[in-house]
Amino acid sequence: MTAPQDSHRAEYWKRNLKLVATLLTIWFVVSYLFGIILVTPLNAISLGGYKLGFWFAQQGSMYVFVVLIFVYAAKMNSLDKEFDVHED
């Protein structure tokens, strides 16, 4: 196993941060933006018996959170391989 070059590692770290930034933007939008800040206007729309803002706050945001973590894990694991920094 040879130590990866500094620039190689820097590039890996940059890609990691970019992925995390994208996913955390979604995280922010579904919870803080839809569930809290925009809850009143969104409540004008209904989703079955739910007001949409209320639904994001008490249901939707949690479903999205679960998906975000699995997307992150899958993407990072393939990024590790691409940059040859994965374990064994």
Partner: protein, 590 residues
């Protein structure tokens, strides 16, 4: 069979199961005691993390708070799940790569300072003890109900059991028992929810039933909004928890607190690989979300059923309320715990339950002389829910067992985090590096006993409902631990002086704010200002203030780090190194 007997049997059987597993896998060496030999599959680890995580606050308290807060209760739902996203992306993989036993160990090594390590231990103990106080409240509620005794007796019984339980097994025992506990608690939570959803809407899936119509084609939530506003309460689906800023910070505080809580972080040291640490957080959240997406349905339906029990006919009509002689058995049973009480203020032999402020003059027109449900403790709602809905006795017994499982598993996990902080980080790591494993184990058990005693004292005089006390613990973790962990990974320039200043200032301002409104060391009557929104800074409640504390921590740590000398070369290399997965020690190394 009589309910009490049945409850004893079900609770006893689940107990025998946990203790059996704990004895079967009794910890042998200290390594096992702390992190279960670091070789647990991500799905199993996720399930154990979920049990560890979902405490009395999630199981017993949260849906009850949501029932009375309505939309405002969303802060708990989003806050306690969203933190896993942060944990998975910002901390778990790196801490696993770093490969140490405890959080203070990471802080001590990354910030090359024993002082930093000691400060981290203090932060950890403050947050964990506050958390255990919240658990004790839940344990007291659950035990007092199922033994049909008053709250204090229930609390002391529960306390003794928690202690025996935590001392018996280390983490290894705990990991396997926690998988069993997860299964018990999730079954206990979802079965009554399914029954009640079917009863009310005909749809068995609680997550869908909450958005469904009831028998008469009106949506459940619309109906609930209507009946609560008729009684002067705030509209369920829009009632906010303080102002928007408070909702925002409350949620944020719970999220970063989740990512900073030592007993959750320690779980990610137990998976074999960095790759597994990432998935493990995802699995934990899957198992948590099953309960958390059910909770809003439980809350809304409990509120609906509670009001329908008391308000049996049209609001304001003389025969519209339940007669005291006809109150259902569950009300009588809960009144023995002292957590539910009523009083016939207008002497009409019936009970009126309404919001005095919200209903205003109308109450007098109806001939009502004040709200007669003098005490409806929020923490009883989940346990009482199946009784309110007239579900079979075995379901009620199962819920009691689930509540106890939830409280036990988390209390044990926390006690372990406290014990390892004191014996491993302070005693062995700093003051007496030469002690043998046996002494270390003994010290950790003495620490546990002490922590339980403190928690029980405050459990009797709790600074809030279980979930609120737990929220304070999260605020403390958020303001002290999360920022230095994150900066330790993401900012190479962060140094020991900055970290220490950051932790102390973050924890300091948060504690000050909490004590200001809740009383010094939570002692009732010693608060400096009444604990209400008029006195709070910008309407920020003490439970939400951890977010501000965290920002102070980040700010101070950043400024101080950049104004003082950079960390030594080898620390910068260490940070470089934890950022890539390759070379992570194997799970059995320690």
């Amino acid at each position: 069979m009589e309910l009490k007997t049945l409850t004893f049997i079900v609770v006893g059987a689940t107990f025998a199961l946990y203790i059996g597993i704990a004895i079967w896998s009794r910890a042998k060496s200290t390594g096992d005691f702390y992190v279960a030999g670091k070789g647990i599959h991500p799905v199993a680890n996720g399930m154990a993390t979920a049990a560890d995580w979902m405490s009395a606050a999630s199981f017993i308290s949260m849906a009850g708070l949501i029932a009375f807060l309505g939309y405002g209760g969303s802060v708990f739902l989003m806050g306690w799940t969203g933190g896993y996203v942060l944990l998975a992306m910002l901390l778990a993989p790196y801490l696993r790569k770093f490969g140490k036993f405890t959080v203070p160990e990471f802080v001590g090594d990354r910030y090359y300072s024993q002082t930093a390590r000691i400060v981290a231990v203090i932060c950890l103990i403050v947050a964990s003890v506050t958390y255990v106080i919240g658990q004790m409240r839940g344990i007291g509620v659950a035990f007092s109900r199922f033994m049909e005794v008053d709250f204090a007796t229930g609390l002391f019984t529960g306390m003794g059991i928690v202690f025996i339980y935590a001392v018996l097994g280390g983490m290894k025992g705990i990991t396997y028992t926690q998988i069993a506990q997860y299964c018990v608690l999730i079954t206990a939570y979802t079965i009554p929810a399914i029954f009640i959803s079917l009863n009310l809407t005909g749809n068995p899936i609680p997550q869908l039933a909450l958005g469904s119509t009831m028998g008469d084609d009106t949506f459940l939530l619309d109906k609930l909004d209507l009946i609560v506003t008729d009684l002067g309460f705030r509209e369920y689906s829009t009632a906010s928890n303080g102002n928007m800023l408070n909702m925002f910070l409350y949620t944020f505080s719970l999220m970063i607190g989740t990512a900073g809580l030592p007993h959750v972080i320690i779980r990610f040291f137990t998976v074999p690989k960095v790759k597994d640490a990432r998935y493990s957080a995802g699995w934990a959240l899957v198992f948590i979300a099953i309960l958390y997406t059910t909770a809003p349905a439980v809350g809304a339906m409990a509120r609906l059923n509670l009001i329908n029990t008391i308000q049996t006919g049209p609001v304001g009509s003389p025969e519209g309320n339940i007669q005291i002689s006809d109150v259902p058995d569950w009300m009588t049973r809960w009144s023995t715990t002292g957590l539910l009480s009523w009083e016939d203020k207008n002497g009409d032999g019936r009970i009126q339950y309404y919001d005095e402020k919200g209903l205003g003059d109308k109450a007098a027109e109806y001939g009502w002389a004040g709200n007669e449900m003098t005490k409806v403790d929020r923490d009883i709602m989940v346990l009482a829910n199946p009784e309110i809905a007239n579900l079979p006795n075995w379901v009620i017994a199962l819920v009691a067992a689930g509540g106890i499982a939830a409280a036990l598993s988390t209390a044990a996990g926390l006690l372990l985090a406290i014990a390892s902080a004191i014996s491993h980080d302070l005693l062995k790591g700093v003051f007496r590096p030469d002690i043998d494993e046996k002494t270390e184990l003994l010290a950790s058990r003495i620490a546990m006993a002490f922590a339980i005693g403190v928690a029980a004292y405050f459990g009797l005089n709790p600074p809030g409902f279980a979930a609120q006390v737990v929220a304070l613990a999260f605020g403390l973790a958020a303001s002290s631990i999360f920022p230095v962990l994150m900066m330790g990974i993401f900012d190479k320039r962060a140094n020991s002086t900055g970290a220490i200043a950051g932790m102390l200032s973050g924890l300091g301002v948060t504690l000050l704010y909490i004590f200001w409104f809740k009383g010094w060391f939570f002692i009732p009557g010693t608060n400096m200002a009444p604990n209400n929104a008029d006195n709070w800074l910008l309407g920020i409640s003490p439970e939400a203030f951890g977010a501000i504390g965290a920002m102070v921590n980040f700010g101070v740590a950043y400024v101080v780090s950049h104004a003082t000398t950079p960390p030594p070369e080898h620390i910068q290399h260490l940070v470089e190194d934890i950022r890539v997965p390759r070379g992570a020690g194997t799970a059995t190394d320690h």
